[in-house]
């Protein structure tokens, strides 16, 4: 089945990600899917372009999986992120986390998407009706303004 953390320039098949985490010990799988949204604060997106530092991004995705395994018991995580041009409603990212009990699955997959937006070298370029822009920090809930990651974020353990 290959690796659990990967960058692809092809359309994402959600099942490919889910299949990697289904297992007898798990009773719950939370799957987060990020899709290209047409309108953001009234502004219309025509399409997106994602770029990644692919090798490092895959390492950082794997690091997130390791972090999840430290924070919650007995987890299995898989994450795939697409790059290149994505149209409206295309799937940009899929995170699947399986756990024995459901609360952990919800919390862990939510953690994963937040961490992706902090440490994984992937960038989104918005192509709006009236222009383009590479998007920076998009964390919705916490501010992340420092120019260096924290010690924890730099660690690969």
């Amino acid at each position: 089945m290959g690796k659990n953390y990967w960058i692809t320039d092809k359309p994402i098949q959600v099942n490919d990600c889910i299949a990697k985490v289904i297992r007898p010990k798990a009773g719950a799988i939370d799957t987060f899917i990020g899709t290209v949204r047409e309108f953001t604060k009234g502004k219309r997106t025509l399409y997106l372009e994602y770029q990644a530092y692919a090798e490092m991004a895959e390492k950082k995705l794997a690091q997130i999986g390791d972090e999840i395994n430290e924070k919650w018991q007995d987890t299995e995580t898989a994450i795939v992120h697409r790059i290149g041009r994505l149209e409206i409603s295309d799937i940009a990212v899929v995170i699947a986390v399986s756990t024995p009990h459901r609360n952990d699955a919800f919390e862990a997959s939510r953690y994963a998407i937040e961490r992706i937006k902090e440490i994984v070298p992937i960038w989104k370029k918005e192509h709006w009706e009236d222009g383009t822009k590479w998007i920076g920090d998009q964390k919705e809930k916490t501010s992340y303004q420092e120019k260096l990651p924290t010690e924890e974020e730099m660690s690969d353990d």
């Binding site: 530092y53 090798e55 991004a57 992937i122 690969d156």
Partner: protein, 76 residues
């Protein structure tokens, strides 16, 4: 020689995804200053990775390293 990688808007400003240069013994901070000046780049908000690991400003660069300038990420 080291390789320096640029992404997103930095790549567009530099006009290149990779440049090779001499930097043995330089700190990340010094390299940042050098490249900021050379390409008129704003690297204040960029993180730096050496060989695919985030590095601090005072980290030392050695021959053969791959240094990447990583603007604020926006995946997901």
């Amino acid at each position: 020689m080291i390789d320096v990688l640029f992404f997103a808007e930095l790549q567009e400003t530099v006009g290149n995804e990779k440049v090779s240069m001499e930097a043995d013994g330089m700190t990340v901070k010094a390299l940042k200053e050098k490249l900021s000046a050379a390409y008129d780049l704003s690297l204040d908000h960029a993180m730096i990775a050496i060989n695919q690991e985030y590095a601090a400003e005072d980290a030392m660069i050695t021959n053969g390293d791959v240094v990447a300038f990583i603007p604020p990420v926006s995946g997901g």
